[in-house]
């Protein structure tokens, strides 16, 4: 008996659990040591049993269970089968008959599950089947407590089988886990499911629902059923790496779809299954906890796919049954908010997995389905809008509404042919509801929370980002019913613009009351949403693509023209009136609807600008201003001067008023540019509005076939004049930057030299002149610290940055020639302004932007010019900051910002070696590569890169990314780095292996592997680098053996180790010998020797890729084997 030992453990536990003021530190420390030693005991089975039998201290019982787990895993292969069986029976008996606390019981159940799983690897699940039979009998026959216990055994067992990649602590290589899982899936998973369904159906029949014991049992049965239905089946053809990703995704996010093999046919297609599951849900839906599990089952069943339903008839049969049950449910209950989530998820899954099959359902089912989901979509939209108004944290309806809209995107496509008329009706209902939810009464139902005016941070997403997906789908609905949606939208908009205008007019003469101010806010909110919706109906998102006019819109407008509902003449008249307040054009009803909405927005712009001109700008809404800029941006890109060849047909109204060379188009461009100018003048204190305005400007300037007309327009010349007059330091600098960028982009398509000279002269000359004036002032050295001079420098550099950012291939020559002489002067500025961080950072950013946007087009000669200026600048920066010691608060933060910019710059430069679009010139000799520059630059800044600075995650990631990239492209250059720099780089790599997160470890490993492979392949055994890499072999082996490298990265680590062994096979052998000899336990030494032999088995160390892969696989098995018995902590 170990009574005394157990006593010792118990008192240690008591000390550890005691409040801090009762025990001394030494006592606590001693107690910890006792527990830690206990955890390391070998063959602890007897003592653990004694503890479980005799101890009353739950903590020690838990430790005993833990120890059993780790000992079993470690020593499994040495244990006698009979011992194992008796231990398992004992534990089973123990949990059945004793009542340890919940956490001890849980742990013991896990031990049992691990034993069953481990055993099943050898007997292919025979024993497991027997145990399951026992458990099933328990659940059917025994008292409530044991029923629950039986369920827990099943749940634990499933848990052990469900994951394969991360279960390395069970001491089996992944392949074995995986095989065990598949074997379990093929046999007992089905059996468990069938059993649960069977028991559930009996409980349902028995009508004994209300008893708490039964409800508890149902909870467990539903949990098991849910776990089976959300089981992650994983194809055997996937490599381990990818399976790891799947498994972690399933864990974190959502359940995988229910993809089943043919063998599940009789279970899944049994006619009673679906009615039963719906009935269960029906019965438990008032109990939140149970309802959740039951609903998940229903959602999963809506995603059934795979070979189990490969037969079309079978699939339709299943779908029909599901649909009947589902419709019965949703038509007979009032859907609760939480419930809406599940319901909407079912619809989403049905669309995802049965989309085209739904159109083959019997006509009546189809109709009720469409009808019901239209109704639900509207209900959820209304619920969502209430949630918004109440500011509630739970967004059940919002999420449900989003799910429904996602489903609708497929429905609108699939049912287009079969139920077109029905779709129109549905679209109209959803569209109207959405619009109403966002409009104030009387037109809409939007409720408004008067008493809370919230503070909104500018980094919060605005509506068009937050509701992007929603708005896109609403836009789709709107395009189904253009003859309804467009007139509704322009009528609503025009009414409100008129009200706004009247408002501003009244405010000129009298003050505003509180009621009027609320009114005004309501108007703003209405206008904001109408424009958002209109923008989504008329245009589609076109990120990264050429914006086009949706075909539905083209068709609609053509038809309107053909039917003479709209005329060009009327349209042009309306266009001409956008800068007038009159609203009584007779012909307005014959105006093209698309252009009419655009003109309405322009008119609203005019109202806003006019208000600002009479000093009422502070009563306008910047939010609405932003929405207008966004709308103009979208609309101009798609509709203004469209590329005619994209469309089969173009409506008369577009042809006469929007295509290039028409006066209308030029006129509209000018109006837009005027608004841009007005915003810069009147709303420059609104950062977001200003940014949206400049985005609009740059976006329209960047479209090649439009920009040529743009840079001949009066509007742009007005802007150029404004640009010339802007005073430095008065307005936000984004203006200078944005304008310069737009100007140089707009000029990119000018073909005639004279016009080029004229245009760019007007844009660039003033900046150049200002720069010259600065430099040529005799007393510059005296006055450079004056505020006005500093502001001038800042303003000019901002302009340069804009120019660099706007560079395109066609203009790079001209713009670089312009910038280069001034760039060459910047090191000087860096020196004199080194104490002014704003200027230092702007200069670094300018070089960064030149490298990013210009370098790839530059010839060798020009590149060299840029390199020289860059290096001189970085060198000056370093000189000024090296060995500097300052009292300034947050100086570390400042260095961090500077270095981030510098590393950015070096990375951009390096990309020249990956992407070089400069015209090849055979006469130019490549004397210097971008990598040289990056390395030089790195050399300069290395003294400033301190370990403290590397603790800034973004700087850290960027630094390692840069060195890996250089190493990838030019390993030979890295090998030949100056001694000091190389040492520093390698120290940082060592640091990267141990101090940061796994992405940095990965980068460090990549670097090492690249280096080692390079030195090995080039036979550099006697080189400096060869010597310097050696310590990494031991370091890496130590790190992997002692669990300090995350299992996700073991793969990369093993490839790196392989490369290192290629270089240092002798030293590797010595390491292995030492490790084996240092083992005190001969058995461990023996196992270690065997493990190392297996690792090296048949793997030649010749750097060959195939051999490396082989080593990688061996290493994986090696590590899980060795981690099982080697205790290195």
């Amino acid at each position: 008996m170990n009574t005394e030992f157990i006593h010792e453990l118990e008192s240690a536990a008591n000390i550890l659990m005691a409040p801090p003021n009762v025990v001394t530190n030494e006592q606590r420390h001693a107690a910890e040591t006792i527990i830690i030693n206990f955890r390391k005991s070998k063959s602890p089975y007897v003592v653990c049993r004694e503890i479980l039998e005799n101890s009353q201290v739950q903590y020690i019982m838990f430790e005993a269970a833990e120890l059993l787990k780790s000992a079993l895993i470690r020593e499994w292969s040495f244990l006698q089968e009979s011992d194992i069986i008796s231990l398992r029976q004992y534990l089973m008996h123990y949990v059945m008959n004793r009542t340890p606390s919940a956490f001890v019981q849980e742990r013991l159940l896990q031990v049992i599950a691990i034993m069953i799983k481990r055993g099943s690897v050898e007997d292919l699940g025979q024993e497991r089947a027997n145990i399951l039979s026992e458990v099933e009998n328990l659940i059917i026959g025994a008292d409530p407590a044991k029923q629950v216990l039986g369920c827990k055994v099943i749940l634990n067992l499933m848990q052990e089988y469900s994951i394969t990649v991360k279960t390395t602590d069970v001491g089996l290589p992944w392949e074995v886990h995986y095989k065990a899982k598949r074997q379990f899936e093929a046999t007992d998973l089905k059996r468990i499911f069938q059993f649960c369904v069977q028991v559930l159906s009996e409980i349902i029949k028995s009508d004994a629902f209300s008893s708490p014991n039964i409800l508890n049992l149902i909870k467990y049965l539903l949990t098991i059923t849910e776990n089976v239905l959300t089981w992650g089946y994983i194809s055997h053809i996937l490599p381990k790496r990818i399976i790891g990703v799947y498994e972690s995704v399933y864990e974190a996010d959502q359940a995988p779809p229910l993809r089943l093999a043919t063998s599940w046919k009789d279970i899944m297609l049994a006619p009673q299954l679906l009615p039963l599951m719906f009935q269960v849900y029906w019965k438990v839906r008032d109990n939140d906890e149970l309802a959740h599990h039951a609903m998940t089952c229903l959602v999963q069943l809506a995603s059934l796919n795979g070979s189990v339903v490969s037969n079309e008839d079978v699939k339709m049969q299943y779908l029909t049954a599901y649909m009947e049950n589902f419709l019965k449910l949703i038509t007979s209950v009032n859907i609760k908010n939480k419930e809406s989530l599940g319901i909407s998820n079912i619809v989403r899954k049905l669309e995802l997995f049965f989309s085209s099959d739904l159109t083959k359902l019997p006509q009546n089912l189809q109709e009720s389905y469409l009808d019901d989901i239209t109704r639900l979509t509207c209900t959820f939209a209304e619920g969502a809008s209430l949630e918004e108004a109440e500011g509630s944290d739970n967004k059940y309806y919002m999420e449900s509404f989003d799910n429904m809209l996602e489903a609708w995107t497929t429905i609108l496509k699939d049912f287009k042919d079969s139920a077109n008329e029905y779709l129109s009706l549905a679209s109209m209902r959803v569209f109207n509801t959405y619009l109403q939810c966002h409009l104030a009464p009387p037109d809409g139902t939007r409720s408004h929370n008067d008493d809370q005016v919230e503070e909104i941070e500018d980094n919060e997403d605005n509506d068009r980002i937050k509701f992007r997906d929603q708005l896109q789908t609403i836009g789709m609905f709107g395009r189904v019913i253009l003859d309804h949606s467009l007139p509704v939208l322009y009528k609503l908009l025009e009414e409100r613009i008129e009200k706004l205008r009247a408002h501003f007019q009244a405010m000129q003469t009298q003050a505003m009351t509180i009621a009027e101010s609320t009114n005004l806010d309501n108007l703003f909110e209405d206008v904001h949403w109408i424009i958002l919706i209109a923008g989504h109906v008329l245009c589609m998102d076109s990120e990264g693509e050429t914006p086009v006019i949706p075909s539905e819109v083209i068709r609609y407008c053509v038809q309107q023209c053909t039917n003479s509902v709209c005329t060009l003449d009327a349209t042009l008249k309306v266009m001409a009136s956008v800068q007038q307040f009159t609203n009584d054009l007779d012909c307005v009803d014959q105006c093209d609807h698309v252009i009419r909405i655009f003109c309405d927005v322009l008119k609203l712009c005019f109202v806003e600008t006019s208000a600002a001109e009479i000093k009422l700008g502070h009563f306008t809404s910047p939010e609405v201003g932003c929405t207008m800029m966004w709308f103009l941006n979208r609309w101009c890109l798609s509709y203004l001067m469209p590329i005619e060849s994209f469309y089969d047909e173009i409506p008369q109204t577009f042809k006469g008023g929007l295509v290039k060379d028409t006066e209308g188009a030029i006129f509209l461009f000018n109006v837009v540019l005027q608004k841009i100018r007005a915003n810069i003048c009147h709303f420059n204190s609104e950062p977001i509005l200003l940014q949206d305005t400049l985005n609009l400007f740059c976006d329209i300037c960047s479209v090649r076939h439009k920009s040529i007309f743009l840079c001949r327009s009066e509007g742009i010349w007005n802007l150029i004049n404004l640009h010339g007059k802007l005073e430095a330091g008065v307005l936000p600098s984004v203006i200078r930057r944005g304008l310069c960028r737009g100007f140089v982009m707009a000029g990119a398509t000018i073909a005639y030299q004279e016009e080029i000279d004229n245009y760019y002269g007007a844009v660039l000359k003033p900046l150049q002149q200002r720069f010259k004036n600065l430099l040529c002032q005799e007393n510059f050295n005296k006055i450079y610290q004056e505020e006005r001079v500093k502001n001038e420098v800042i303003d000019i550099v901002e302009g340069f940055i804009g120019i660099a950012k706007g560079t395109q291939m066609t203009t790079v020559h001209l713009l670089f020639d312009f910038l280069a002489p001034m760039l060459a002067e910047l090191p000087k500025f860096m020196k004199i302004y080194n104490n002014y961080q704003v200027i230092v950072q702007l200069i670094l950013e300018l070089f960064g932007q030149c490298a990013k946007c210009m370098l790839c087009y530059l010839s060798q000669l020009d590149s060299k010019r840029l390199y020289e200026s860059t290096l001189a600048t970085i060198q000056t920066y370093t000189k000024c900051n090296e060995n500097r010691f300052t009292t300034e608060a947050l100086s570390e933060e400042s260095s961090f910002q500077d270095l981030t910019l510098t590393l950015d710059l070096l990375t951009y430069i390096l990309s020249k070696d990956c992407l070089d679009l400069s015209p090849a010139n055979p006469n130019e000799e490549v004397t210097i590569t971008a990598a040289d520059i990056s390395l030089f630059g790195l050399n300069f800044i290395m003294p400033l890169m301190t370990t403290d600075l590397l603790k800034y995650p973004s700087l850290c990631a960027q630094y390692y990314r840069l060195i890996v990239l250089i190493n990838d492209i030019f390993p030979e250059k890295v090998c030949n780095l100056p001694e000091e720099l190389l040492t520093k780089v390698l120290i940082s790599v060592e640091y990267g292996l141990t101090q940061f997160g796994s992405d940095i470890v990965q980068a460090s490993l990549d670097f090492l592997q690249g280096m080692a492979t390079y030195t090995y392949k080039n036979g550099m055994q006697n080189s400096n680098i060869h010597q310097k890499l050696l310590p990494f072999l031991k370091l890496l082996l130590d790190l992997t053996l002692s669990h300090q490298i995350n299992s996700d990265i073991i793969c990369t680590a093993s490839c790196c180790i392989y490369a290192l062994i290629c270089c240092y096979s002798e030293q590797y052998n010595i390491f292995v010998q030492n490790l084996i000899q240092s083992q005190s336990d001969p058995l461990t030494a023996e196992r270690l020797t065997a493990a190392f032999n297996q690792l090296m088995n048949n793997v030649p160390f010749d750097g060959d890729r195939f051999h490396k892969m082989k080593f990688r696989d061996n290493f994986d098995k090696f590590i899980s084997n060795v981690h099982g018995f080697l205790l290195i902590k």
Partner: protein
């Protein structure tokens, strides 16, 4: 200067103290409200933190901040520094700074190294805020 034209790392007067802006964000009251600028500044002499929030249209005072580098030529017995400007002018009106920089300055000077001192001047105050040892490279 208009508040919205200020920028991070630039200077501004907060509570009548010259400050370097270390954080600048904007917000608004209500969805259709106008921008307000939230400024966090660090007193350039004392390192104390000041905050302010104001409409973005407001004008803010910007201090005139001057920083000049001087060569350290001597330290007098009563703790005054003898500094030489780029143009050779000498001045002896600044005390050795308190704290770490002072200690660093004293040690390096005693070790016979060449030292550059950065003197920060604003709103009538003047103090040495940074020292830098000249390496052979610079000479």
């Amino acid at each position: 200067m208009q508040c919205s034209a200020l920028r991070k790392n630039g200077f501004v007067m907060l509570k009548s103290r010259p400050c370097k802006i270390v954080e600048m964000s904007t917000s608004k009251t209500g969805k259709h409200g106008h921008a307000k600028v939230h400024l966090v500044g660090i007193d350039i002499f004392s390192g104390k933190k000041y905050e302010d929030i104001c409409p973005s249209t407001h004008n803010m005072d910007v201090p005139h901040v001057k920083r000049e580098d001087y060569q350290l030529t001597d330290i007098s017995d009563d703790g005054y520094l003898c500094l030489m400007a780029d143009n050779g002018d000498l001045r002896e009106d600044l005390k050795i700074p308190e704290g770490d920089v002072g200690v660093q300055l004293r040690t390096e000077f005693d070790a016979g190294k060449d030292i550059l001192c950065t003197v920060l001047k604003s709103c009538g105050e003047e103090v040495v805020i940074a020292v830098k040892t000249n390496t052979a490279l610079d000479k």
